[in-house]
Structures are given as C-alpha cells and as structure tokens.
C-alpha cells in the first residue's frame, strides 16, 4: 500500500491518478486551494476503495506553509512514500509579455513553488533512503515556443531541477519521475477549441503516471508518442525554428 501526497489534487490529471491509487486501496492526502472541491474528491476516493483519505488546503505560492503541509500529510497517513506534484496554471502568454509581475507570478506557481516543495521532500526521503517524487512538468519545457514560452520556461526549470535531483537522490534509492504530458483535455485547457487527434484524456495520462511510478521510471512522455514529437522539435535548427509558427 502506498501512502500518497498529492499537491494540486483538484487538477483533472491528479484526480484521475488519485482514483487509480484509491481503487488499489492506497492511502491519500490531498492538497489544493478549494476545500469544497477537495471534499468532493475525497468522498469519491473513499467510495472507490481508498484505505484512508484526508485533505488540507494550501496556496502553493505561500512557501512558508509548505513544511507544515508535509508534516500534516505524514501525521494523517502515518508516513509518506509517494508524492505527486500536479498543481499549475496555464499562463496567459500575452499578459506575461506585457508585465514582469505576471511573469513572476507564473514562475512562483509553476516553477519555484514546485522546487521549494521538492527541497523539503527530497531531504525527508533522502534521509529515509526510500520514496518516490513524481512531478508533472510539460512537453512545453522541452523547447521554448513563442505561443507559451513563459509557461515553457517555468516547466523547463522544473525539468532541469528534477534531472539534477534524480542524480542526487539515486544514491539514496529515491525515485524522481519527470512526467511530460502533451495536450490533455482538462478544465485547464477548456479554452482551447478544435482539439485534434493529439489530445489525450486525463484517464489515459493517469494510467501512464501510475505505471511509470510502479516501474520506477525516470522520465515519461504521455501519451508515449510525444517523446517522438519532442525529439523532432528539439532538433529543428534555430534558423528554421525562428520562422515557424509553433
């Protein structure tokens, strides 16, 4: 049985992942901003078979509150061995181009808060020589594109951070999983019309996340074909890339 902490538990991918854990009879501690929605998810996971569930509210931008949340999760679950960090906002690229304050807010949420949480969690798991840290980054972090490079830059920072953390914690037997979803049909992307064949459902991405955690993978693209797409995109020469509309 896993004892799982999920940050950003009301996101569609996180909720779908939590359902798989719950169905297997794992214990879950759910963290997000909205208490009512946490309660709705908690009740659902209880019915699905979670051995124990508890919730707490947190604004991830409040870095000072991070440590207390982790302690709270440990107390509620009687330990902790798996963490999924799934919170995030889809940045308004246009606003971030006009305003450095907007840019900074996006970085606080999508990059710094994640790294801050990981700093506490890494030390905890390193000392115990066990655990899994799974973090949702994004294919947007693989190469900056004009349509969303602020979001992409924040995710690139997370991916680079995870890469280093994985090396460091490998010696301590702690798994660090970088999750790179492509386009996922969720409330976060509801504003995007014309979702084509590349779009995946949260359930499918969640199944891939749990599989990667169980198999102790390092980096997982979900669905898998995004690894091929990003391989191509990363290798487009700059003179050509500059002229593309991506």
């Amino acid at each position: 049985m896993r004892k799982v902490l999920i940050i950003g538990a009301t996101s569609a991918i996180a909720e779908a992942t939590a359902r798989i854990f719950a169905t297997r009879g794992d214990a879950l501690f759910l963290v997000a901003r909205n208490a009512d929605r946490l309660q709705a998810i908690k009740a659902d996971l209880d019915v699905r078979g979670a051995v124990r569930t508890a919730t707490a509210t947190l604004d991830v931008a409040d870095f000072a509150a991070h440590r207390a949340i982790i302690d709270h999760a440990e107390r509620e679950l009687g330990g902790l061995d798996t963490v999924l960090i799934a919170h995030g906002t889809l940045s308004d690229q246009g606003e971030c181009e006009k305003s450095a304050a907007a840019l900074r807010r996006e970085f606080d949420i999508n990059a710094l808060s994640t790294m801050a949480l990981l700093t506490s969690l890494a030390n905890l798991f390193e000392a115990r020589k066990a655990g899994t840290l799974a973090v949702i980054s994004s294919v947007a972090g693989d190469r900056g594109r004009q349509s969303n490079y602020v979001y992409g830059a924040a995710k690139a920072a997370v991916s680079a951070f995870l890469s280093g953390l994985r090396q460091r914690l490998a010696k301590a037997n702690v798994d660090v999983l970088t999750i790179e979803p492509g386009f996922v049909d969720t409330p976060m992307t509801a504003g995007i019309a014309n979702k084509g064949a590349l779009w995946a459902k949260p359930d499918a991405v969640a199944a891939g996340i749990v599989h990667a955690i169980d198999k102790r993978r390092s980096i997982v693209y979900l669905p898998w074909f995004w690894s091929l797409i990003m391989l191509v995109i990363r290798h487009i020469p700059e003179p050509i890339f500059k002229k593309l509309k991506l």
Binding site: A12, R37, A40, I41, A43, D44, V47, R48, P187, A190
Partner: protein, 413 residues
C-alpha cells in the same frame, strides 16, 4: 460548455441549454440545435455508497459501466439497465430507462430515491417522491427539460456474483411467445425475445425467447474478455440490407441453442457494447430506431400487424426485440413503459421509404392506443407525441424556461 464541479453554477450563455451525458439516445432528445449543450461527463464522482444497504449517491455524469465496475465486485447490480452500459445516470433518469426486468423492477426511475436539480435561476432543488414530488415526477422521463440533474441517489440490487443462469427457447409464432412470456414472468427476473421480422407465411412470428436469473457464485462460467473489437470505418452503404437480413435471421434462428447456460452479465445485457462503433455498419446515412408499446388487450393483434407491415415493406430490422411490460404506475409524467408489449427495431436509413414505413407503424401503434419511445425517436409528429403521452401538459409548469431540446421543439410545434 463542459461541467466539472457539482458546486459550480450553470454557465451563462445566450439561448437555450440542455445537459448532454454520453450521447446514447438515438434521436434528438439529446440534441439542442441552435442552443448550447452542457456535457456532464466531468461530473462523475461518487458521493456516498453504503455496501450494506446498496444505496449509492453519485454525480449525474457517472456511467452505468463505471457503477457496475464498482458495484459488482461488492455484490450489487444496477436495479434496471438498458441494453448499453454506456449511459449516464442523468440520461437514465431523463429517459426513465427500462430493461429486461420491467415485469419485476419497473423503470430506473422507480429506484431513484432523490436527486438535486440545478435550475437556470440558480436554485438547487432536492427532489424525491415526498419532497418536491411534482418536480420529481416531471424530471424522471423529463427528457432533461426541467433543469440539470447534478447528482442522484438510487437503490442497487443485491447479487451473489456476475453470473446469470439463462434459458433459451425457440418459439414458432406470436401465440407461443405470449405463452412463454407469461409462463416465465413469475420465476425469471429477466425476459426478452428476439423476433424474426423478415419471416413470412408459416414462419411468421418465429423467434427466440431468453429468460434469466442472477446465478449463485458456484455457477461459474466463462468470463468475457473486454475486446477491442470495433467497426474500423463507415462503409459507403449500409451492410444491413434485405439480403444480409434474411441470411442473418435464418442463421440466428437456426443456431439458437435451446437449453440452459451460465453467462456473464456483460455479454448477457450488453452484447453490442462489445463492438466499438457498431452503428457504422449502417453506412453514412445511419439508421433509425423505432420502439413502441401497445396495450395488453390489443397486443397480439397489433404486434402481428406491425410485423406484417414491416415484412411487406421488405425493410426488416436486424435487431428486433419483443418484451412484455408489466402494469405498474409510471415513475414519470412522460415515462414510456406501460402495460403491454413493446417492440424495438433498427432500420437502415433509406430516406423517404424508411420514414413512410415508420409513419405506417405509427398508425398501427396509435390505433392500438400505444406509444413510441422518445429516447429512440427522431421523427414522430407533435400530434402523435401528444396522443402517446396524454399527460404532456402536466410537464409545462415544471419545465425550466432556459432548457430545451431539438425533440421538444419538434413535438411542441
């Protein structure tokens, strides 16, 4: 405008709205041309489940398939299920669906204990048979017109395992069907028949009768594999035609193995769910469903007349299902099931000729004092609808002014 949270208000849009579950209604009861659909599949959370009493409360976008995955291993089953498990709870309420156990359990609406209705003025109204009973009766079979069902609570059926003990009997004519049906109702939870509607002369009215009960766990059979079988593309013309139909029906009747078998609930209740995109076999023009019910006194004559009209038209139906409904008080104002015999058919859409046949079937149904099922209809006239559902005016005061559907505008013309 997809919905994801049960505490969220309805989205503000111009024009009319209609909740849209999983789109398994065959006609336009789940369409709202010119208005906005509110997809509800994001509302798929359980709220409570009591494994002792079998009472479940869940959001309205939850699929029957999802409830079965949860409930069957815990010893519970849907109280009533239609022929596909890919319907939402909200859709099952809005169409007050029925199944092979109507003679014993009635419609799904009879097992609903309460639900919350979200109205366009923002009001959230809890309805049950004793609380806001008028709105409760208008929402069950209310075709989604009274507002949006946010969550519902209903009673599951106790079972000992996923198996059914099924008996198969062939019958040579309609009289034999009615005899088999009445003989089977007392001791069998589920009864249904397939009828060969291409048969004429001496073979007229032949078919295969199936009756079943949930079986004890000792009766283990073969567990089905969840196949990925699917119709990969839409053929340019319907694969269902006069020739293939006669061949299929002949084969199906002859190969029906009489006797008893232990079968898993999935192939028993949901044979078509095993074939993805099965509707594609009807080609790009699709097909029309027709399901009617005729009252007991007129049943034998009217069913025979319907079958003769179909055979004479040369447009037989591949899938033809016959079932006797019990005489029970309806759960909803517009509930379709009522005392009598129901016949369900699929016709490839051959344009005017198909519509002419369906109009002819309507004449027979109406003359017998019967009704046609709105959930499967795409073409009945407003006059016919009001004749089939004489209490329709009781709906008017309960309908939410912001909610509408293609079907409703059509039959209110």
């Amino acid at each position: 405008m997809p919905l994801h949270w049960r505490d969220a208000p309805l989205p503000h849009v111009e024009g009319s709205v209609l909740a849209w579950g999983n789109g398994r209604s065959y006609g336009d009861v789940c369409l709202n041309d010119g208005g906005t659909l509110l997809p509800t599949r994001g509302l798929d959370r359980y709220i409570a489940f009591d494994p002792v009493s079998g009472i479940v409360r869940c959001e309205a976008g939850t699929l029957f398939a999802e409830i079965l995955d949860l409930a069957v291993p815990r010893g519970w089953f849907l109280p009533v299920t239609p022929g596909t498990r890919f319907v939402t709870v909200g859709g099952a309420i809005a169409n007050d669906v029925h199944g092979k156990n109507h003679h014993r359990a009635g419609t799904f609406g009879e097992h609903v204990r309460r639900f919350e209705l979200l109205r366009s003025d923002g009001a959230r109204i809890e309805c049950s048979p004793s609380q806001n009973a008028d709105l409760f009766a208008a929402t069950i079979a209310g075709l989604g017109l009274t507002g949006m069902v946010v969550w519902a609570e209903f009673q599951l059926l106790r079972i000992e395992g996923p198996w059914l003990a099924q008996e198969t009997r062939r019958f040579g004519n309609l009289a034999e069907f009615f005899a088999l049906s009445s003989e089977s109702e007392r001791d069998h939870a589920y009864t249904v028949a397939w009828i060969d509607c291409a048969a004429r002369a001496a073979q007229f009215g032949r078919g295969v009768f199936f009756r079943a009960n949930h079986a004890p766990p000792t009766a283990a059979g073969r567990r089905p594999r969840r196949s990925r079988l699917a119709v990969p593309f839409t053929p340019p013309v319907s694969l269902i035609n006069k020739l293939s139909l006669h061949a299929f029906n002949e084969l199906y009747f002859r190969r029906a193995r009489e006797g008893s078998a232990i079968v898993h609930y999935e192939p028993y209740f949901y044979p078509l769910d095993a074939i993805g995109e099965w509707n594609r076999i009807y080609g790009p023009r699709g097909f029309l469903q027709y399901q009617c019910v005729v009252p007991p006194a007129a049943s034998a004559a009217a069913i025979a007349e319907l079958l003769r009209a179909i055979a004479a038209s040369g447009r037989g139906s591949f899938l033809a299902v016959l079932k006797v409904f019990a005489d029970r008080p309806a759960a909803g104002i517009l509930s379709f099931p009522r005392a009598g015999t129901t016949l369900a058919l699929d016709f490839p859409n051959d344009g005017a000729a198909t519509f002419a046949l369906l109009d002819r079937l309507d004449e027979i149904t109406a003359a017998a004092g019967g009704a046609v099922y709105p959930a499967k209809d795409a073409r009945m006239s407003g006059a016919r609808f009001r004749q089939y559902f004489p209490r329709w005016q009781h709906m008017l005061a309960q309908i939410d002014p912001k909610f509408s559907s293609g079907f409703w505008r059509r039959v209110m013309e």
